[in-house]
Structure formats: C-alpha cells, structure tokens
Symmetry: C2
Subunit: 340 residues, 2 copies
C-alpha cells in the first residue's frame, strides 16, 4: 500500500508500528502504552523489536528486529549499519505498507535517519523538519518547526517548513487558516540576523500562503509562541531546538517552584490539597506528554517522535496522533503543497 497514491477516501487501516525498544523506559512503558492504545482507543498496533524482551504484549502483533540503536549512538552510522534495528524495521514496515505510521521514543536523530532512509522524502521537500506542538493555555497548541532536525538551514527551506507546518496545523488541530510567523528578535521586517532577514524576504513572497490557505503574519518573537496570536512558528533547527528546550526548562522550573509555594506552611499545604484537581488539570494541559509527541514532516509516511522520557500515557497519545494523521491524509496534503 502506497500512502501517497491510494484512491481518495480509502483509509490506510494497517497498524501503527511502535518501536518497542526506543526510549528511556523501553520496552516496559512503550509496550504498556501500545497496549493501552489498542485496548482503550481501538487503534491497531504492531510492536517492533526483540519479542523476548517485550514482556506481555497482550496479543499485539510483533515485527521482529534483533538490534537496538542506543539513545546516545551517532544517528547516521547507526541507521546505515544496524539494518535489523527496531527503528529501521519500523520505518521499513511503513515503506512496505505493513504499517500505516511509525512511533518511536528512541534516539531522535536515528528515528529521523531511519524514516528518511527507508520512507524517503516527499518530492519538493529538500529537508524534513521536526514539528513540535507547544501547549498554549486556553488555545490550540502552537506548532514550532524545525525544532531540531536541521542545525543548519538555508533560508528557502523555511518556506517549505511554512507550507508543511500549515498543513499540519490544519490536519492536527483543525485550524482553518493557520497564522504563520517567522521566529525573530523584533516584529519589524528589518529585525533579525542575516539568515532570518533572507528568510523573511522569501516568506514574504506569499504564494506559498495562498497555496496552503495560511496567513503569513511576518516576524514573531519568543514571547509570542505560547500565546494565541500565532499558530505556526518557523525557524532553523538550532534556534528551534534551543527554544523548545528553554520552554521545557522554564515550565519545569516554575512547576518545581510552585510545589515549594504550596508546601511552605500548614495553610499553603491545606490550600495545595484543595487546589490539587485544578493544578492537575493545568499540568495535564501544559505537559508535553499530553500533546503526543513531535512529527517528522516531509518524509513519505507518518513518523511520530516521542520524548525520550515517554511513559505509557505519552506513547498511547503518540499512537493516537499517528493514527489521526494517517486518517487525515496529512502526508498526501504535504505532497500536494510541496508539488505546487
């Protein structure tokens, strides 16, 4: 089955391939998450990895793979030499039509490499990019891309990122006309470094925005990301990754500080107990696990890259997102805009 050329309306019902061996808590939490996706959400799943290490799979289908790419392995050489690794086999399963999508919480670089090597790029896309949804209180998440696939970018790639990000924001969050901004250090056109000024010029051409029914809103700043003022933020993979991790860090620091605040004295402890449900729902809303992982956009298949620290709930969410993106026909939509 070819995800890009199937007859319209025909939904790929092949299972989502889950790399059982990738992630800090693999395979235990990964298998648990895959089982929950199958049991609670009714999504067909196939586990990829070493069957004898998976524990009780609850009857899930398994694609055997004898090798495991370590979390800290050099990505490029790993995917080229470890052909029987769970990551490479998962990507292969998508290419061969045995799976509709892949999900991994393993080595991010290797997941990208495996997807690129086995699925290939969408025609018209020079480099795939990682799109990460950033939780925005009270609004749809803001999609940040590239959040780490390409440490060096050319300005023209950001136009491709803008196209892909717009498709993704619509397919994933139902945003009809995504507002797309360029991450810079001032809102005026002339603000930024040489790279963003050149990217700004190319993005301002605007024909891409018409193609994907998006609104190009020009430069945005770091403080706009977590607001409802912008839906898609494009940037190079270095700046995107630094920003993503800075946001993660600040949320962690602030939550940590809040736990201190509600444990200062008996009154605050009592108040903390009373607030537990409200704080839990706040944590749920803002926790990266809830949004279900990042997507590698621009490869010929759905590839969800989950946080290395993913536990079962995060894996289940990642499978759900993978399935939704298959159902939405996202890869086909990207192919359509990349060709135009």
């Amino acid at each position: 089955m070819e995800p890009l050329s199937g007859p319209a309306g025909l939904i790929n019902m092949e299972p989502v391939a889950v790399d059982a061996m990738g992630g800090d808590s693999a395979p235990g939490e990964i298998v648990a998450g895959a089982r929950r996706a199958a049991d609670e959400l009714g999504i067909p799943v196939v586990l990829v990895g070493r069957p004898d290490e998976m524990g009780d799979t609850g009857g899930l289908e398994v694609i055997e793979a004898s090798e495991v790419i370590p979390m800290d392995a050099e990505p490029g050489s790993s995917v080229r030499t470890m052909k029987d690794s769970s990551l490479v086999r998962a990507a292969e399963a998508v290419r061969d039509g045995l799976a509709s999508a892949m999900v991994s919480a393993g080595n991010t670089g290797a997941a990208m490499g495996a997807a690129l090597l086995r699925m290939g790029r969408v025609r018209g896309i020079t480099r795939p990019a990682i799109a990460t949804p950033i939780p925005t209180p009270g609004a749809s998440p803001t999609t940040l891309l590239d959040s780490g696939a390409n440490a060096e970018c050319r300005p023209e790639w950001l136009v491709q990122f803008a196209r892909m990000g717009s498709v993704y924001a619509r397919d994933r969050f139902g945003i009809k006309r995504p507002r797309v901004g360029l991450l810079s250090i001032g809102e005026e056109a002339g603000k930024g470094n040489d790279f963003t000024k050149s990217a700004f010029e190319k993005l301002s051409d605007g024909s891409w925005a018409q193609d994907v029914a998006a609104d190009w809103i020009g430069n945005v700043e770091g403080r706009d990301i977590m607001t409802s003022d912008v839906d898609v933020v494009v940037t190079d993979g270095f700046t995107g990754n630094v920003t993503l991790k800075a946001l993660e860090g600040s949320l962690r620091a602030l939550f940590g500080r809040m736990l201190v605040a509600i444990d200062t004295d008996d009154t605050s402890r009592k108040a903390g107990e009373m607030l537990a449900p409200a704080l839990d729902s706040m944590a749920q809303e803002i926790h990266p696990d809830s949004v279900g992982g990042a997507l590698l956009l621009g490869v010929r298949g759905v590839c969800v890259i989950s946080h290395g620290a993913s536990r079962a709930a995060a894996v289940m969410n990642a499978v759900r997102v993978a399935r939704e993106m298959v159902n939405a026909g996202m890869v086909g939509h990207i192919a359509a805009t990349a060709h135009s």
Copy 2:
C-alpha cells in the same frame, strides 16, 4: 572622574543618571522609581530629561535634555542625530564623570548606541554584550549573554562574552567560580551548528577561564538555563534574545494559566486566597523586575538597561544594581580580564 583609572579603594560617589524619558511608563514611573532609590536606598540619583515633564522630582538633581528618542526609533541614526536626547546626555554624564552609572528603560538599541558612542568600548572587547540575569528558583540567577546586542556574532566574541559574564556573575551574585556553558542543542562537543562548533573550540582553549577564575563546562541546553547547573550561558545575540523572550513568554503563560486554576470554583478561589502570600513571593522571585534589569557589558561605564515595561519598583532595583556594580568596580574588573 575616570571609572577605569581611579585609585584603588576610591569609590565613585557620583549619582546614578536615570533616563527619565525612556520606557512605556515614562516619565511618571521612572521618576517615581528614581525617588524611591534615593529615599529608600539612599543612593544619589540624577534625572536626565525634560524638567517640565517630570512632575515632582522630590528635589532630585536634574540634567536637562530637550529630546526624547522614541521606543521604536531606529537606534543608530537616533543617537547620532539626537545629541540632546536624554539617553545620549545620560551616557555623556557617565563619560564626563558627572554620573557614576546610567539606567534607562527606553529604546534598548539606542541605549546601547548611546553608551557605546559616548563611553566607548573597554580595550580588548570587540563588541559589548547585553547580560541578562534569568531567575532560577532556589538559586542564584543564571546570566545569559549576549541576550540581544549583536544579532550576528563571530565565534571568538563568545570568548569575550565568557570573560565578561564571569566577572559579572562574581561581582553581581558573589559566585566565586562561575560555571560557564555554551548554549547549544546537545551536551556533547560535536553538537550544534557551525557557529557553536567553532565557538566551542575557541572556548575549550580554556586560558580565559583561568584568567577569570571560572569553570568552562562545555555545551549546555535550553533546559539548563533555569537550573542551578550553570551560572553563565554564552550565546550569540539572536539566539540569546529569542531564548530570553521565550522564557518570558512561558512564565507569563504559566502564571496566566495558574490564575485560571485558582479561579475555577469556590474551593479553588478559597485556596487561592490562602496561597496568596506564597504565590506573591514566588512571583516576586521569578519576575524579571526583581532582578533589576540587564547590563551592557564591555563599555567604559555601568549601563543598566531596564525592561521597557518597567514600573517604579523595577527602576529602583535597576538603580540599586547600577550602584552595586559601581561599588564592586565591575568595569575595572572587565578591563583587567579583557587586557589579559
């Protein structure tokens, strides 16, 4: 009086020059903050600007300046053409020994330009950098530089930033051996883009660290900034500014979400009231105003750049920091390490 060549032990007792006309709430909040610094902290202050617009100055000394550089004016041409602006006059007062330091909440670029033009660079420093203290719950703030002075940097400038940041962290926060990291996208030496890889190599030479009694700890990531694992983070001004504003935005988003959480129902509202003191002290600790503004390092004088949104309390803190850095002899310390 020449800040760099005064006899050792002689403290510059000239007043701190406050740009009364710069900032979103100027001159009202600025004058109020300057008065508080004089009244509550006993720091001598001189206001710079239009006397007839300042309101009641409470008897503070005034240096008259007829022009005001608007917040959104182009910095370079403004400081060159508006020679009787409050910003340029404030910098001049430091140069001429009429003031010991300057503080402005006005146009950041123009404040930099005025300081550079009138005070000049410290010998050995190619480009001044903005050093911003990032609040770190339960620990000393982390100093981020360059957080916006230079959108384009050369790798070797980051070694100068590392020197200046180390001096600043010691003089400002009393950190005996500051741990200095390079902002990148992975901890290993090989991680980053071409720019950071080159900067990493130059920083790894390590003689600078010995000169300023700092520890070079290699690459750090965005999530490390708000932890106690690092004291000084060096980066180019584009990445630094994006990061700084992303952190600001996430803290604002999370605080906003927290206000929603403590206003969901009667129980949470009651709990919110009980928590008010603890949450206030948390907000105080984390609010950028509390840390007292950023410093422009590398010019021949103390120049504090306060947030455009600064109100009286922030201005008072900025004056306090300016005074502390004069007393500590920070500019002389930077000159000493820049020569070495």
